[in-house]
């Protein structure tokens, strides 16, 4: 049996509903807009929020890039690319600068994005106050009253316990001086990239049924105390084992047989591009 899907899998009504929620999200930066999260052919928690945003936004002219923790080639990224390309036929790419639509899990690409691009991030827990307050009814009220002491309290507790702000990822941010927002589990390293980003950044949480956004050129400030300023991960003098890059986000990899530790770029496309450039400079073919 051959099933032919509508363009981009969804029926037009669904796409319209998700776009409406996205527009509202753009109009109120950092505010979590509820939407009717659809059943998807992948399980909730595997990027259904991001996938729904991507499918509702994509057009025939778009060029799509999907990354998972910086990698273009992980199983999750490949599967998402497959379903989108099968139901739309759009071009796929690994290259950050030619993509018009980038769906990502937990990383913002190293290359700066531009105004013509949209970044879609997959979000597991959209509510920055969830750890402190389990009730959605109450967190909504806390947002409306700008009562964010809970988010600060979490950071204070980390300082008391570990001596510094130990958020590994998902360090909360103030958007447009109004809403405190969970930036999805991107490393702190990527938080500064949200501030006055040229590209529109959309966040989709499929399981929690929320969409939120940082429109282009929006002020985004990471939460920090006066005497404990926000800091990104520091890799010291370590560099990528493959391409030699410094000052980028590095993955720590342990060779279990030899017990060695080495580092390589988390953004695989960035790493490959650097290698290709070196190859071209040396007179080879890309």
């Amino acid at each position: 049996m051959k099933i032919s899907y509508n363009f981009a899998f969804f029926d037009e009504g669904s796409k319209r509903e998700i776009r409406r929620a996205s527009l509202k999200a753009v109009a109120i930066p950092g505010y979590q807009v509820p939407f009717a999260s659809r059943e998807m052919p992948i399980a909730r928690g595997w990027g259904t929020g991001g996938l729904q945003l991507t499918l509702s936004l994509i057009g025939r002219e778009d060029i799509l890039k999907v990354i998972d923790q910086g990698s273009d080639e992980s199983v999750n990224a490949i599967n998402i690319k497959k379903i989108i390309s099968k139901t739309t036929g759009v071009k796929l790419t690994d290259e950050t600068n030619i993509a018009t639509l980038i769906q990502s899990r937990h990383r913002i690409p190293e290359l700066p994005l531009n105004e013509a691009q949209i970044l879609v991030l997959q979000v597991p827990v959209p509510e920055p106050l969830r750890v402190v307050e389990p009730s959605e009814f109450i967190t909504k009220r806390l947002h409306s009253e700008m009562e964010y002491s809970g988010a600060w309290l979490m950071l204070f507790e980390e300082i008391m316990k570990y001596g510094n702000m130990a958020t590994g990822a998902d360090h909360p941010v103030y958007v447009n001086d109004r809403y405190v927002m969970a930036p999805s589990p991107i490393p702190r390293f990527d938080n500064p990239k949200l501030n006055y980003s040229k590209a529109l950044i959309l966040f989709g949480a499929g399981r929690e049924k929320k969409i939120y956004a940082i429109p282009p050129y929006t002020k985004v400030v990471s939460l920090a105390f006066d005497d404990y300023p926000f800091e990104v991960e520091n890799f010291g003098d370590k560099s990528c084992k493959i391409c030699g890059a410094r000052g980028v986000y590095l993955d720590e990899i342990i060779d279990e047989e030899k017990g060695d530790t080495f580092y390589q770029c988390s953004d695989t496309s960035f790493c490959i591009n650097r290698l290709n450039k070196v190859a071209i400079d040396e007179g080879g073919e890309a």
Binding site: V132, R141, E145, E147, W152, L153, E157, M160, K161, D227
Partner: protein, 285 residues
């Protein structure tokens, strides 16, 4: 000279006709001369009148006691004043807020939040309501300070240590979560939290109920000491007359949601006028 007198005369908190009811009321219970109510409950429509026309004033540095049997509306009144519940009707004014001319019950939820964070402190009967049991004790105190606008960790840490020391929590346990503490210790952490940003008004709801006698005495001592040293005005709700006798300068007696008697604490305990108050005082062991 005149300004000084009016300053002293102006109460820090003024409550006028506070009313809280659950249900809309019906023809038979809303009539002015109605006598259908069973205690504070209307058997026709099921409406409960938790607080009816409660008015009182609280002055600077004063402790006002509120006594009454369980179900008389004491706690509901405190919940209304701390915005945990919305009032049905009535007004309240705080002298330091907008010159004491604005009814705080009619303010926006943001303004109420501001008052809660900056002007009021509340100690609940049950520490679970006032503390975050999973967070450290010092974190609990910091929460209130953060809410009041503090953004310096070292300041909050030293203030937290000072307060916890004050309420006799050993300093080596301040990073522990209150869930590991005994009931008396939890209550003392709660008091420290409520005091952290020096609120001019403190609401205490049955703070010593359920504590054993020596801990009770400890907590009462602490409250008295704080009031003397910091000049904080307090509203102390208790059904325990001994607590009221020890703490309160003036007392109001509540029954079925109404204030039935008010006056100096000694006067009420020695020479009660109302039949119910007489019964209450005579039942004091």
């Amino acid at each position: 000279m005149e300004t000084k007198i009016s300053y002293f005369e102006k109460p820090i908190l003024k409550v006028k006709n506070l009313t809280k009811q659950y249900g809309d009321g019906c023809e038979s219970c809303l009539r002015v001369d109605s006598n259908v109510l069973i205690k504070n409950y209307c058997p026709h429509c099921g409406t409960v009148y938790a607080c009816k026309d409660i008015s009182f004033e609280l002055h600077k540095g004063e402790i006002l006691g509120v006594v009454g049997e369980s179900g008389s509306g004491k706690s509901t009144m405190l919940q209304c004043l701390y915005f945990d519940q919305e009032v049905t009707d009535g007004e309240a004014f705080i002298s330091s807020y907008k010159n004491g001319e604005t009814n705080i019950f009619k303010e926006s939820s943001q303004a109420k939040r501001f008052l809660k964070n900056n002007v009021l402190g509340k100690v609940y009967q049950n520490p679970i309501l006032g503390l975050k049991m999973e967070f450290s004790s010092i974190g609990n105190i910091a929460e209130k300070l953060i809410a009041a606008g503090s953004r310096k960790v070292c300041d909050m840490e030293s203030r937290g240590k000072e307060l916890l020391d004050r309420v006799n929590i050993p300093l080596f346990r301040i990073k522990e979560a209150p869930k590991n503490f005994s009931g008396g210790m939890q209550q003392r952490v709660q008091i420290a939290k409520a005091l952290s940003n020096n609120p001019p008004i403190l609401l205490l709801d049955e703070v010593t109920t359920g504590l054993d006698l020596s801990v009770q005495a400890n907590v009462l001592d602490l409250i008295k000491q704080i009031q003397r040293e910091l000049g904080i005005s307090m509203l102390v709700v208790s059904h325990d007359l001994a607590v009221i006798r020890m703490l309160a300068d003036r007392t109001i007696v509540m029954l079925d949601g109404r204030v039935i008697e008010e006056g100096l604490t000694d006067q009420i305990l020695e020479d009660p006028q109302n039949a119910y108050t007489q019964e209450l005082v005579h039942s004091l062991i």
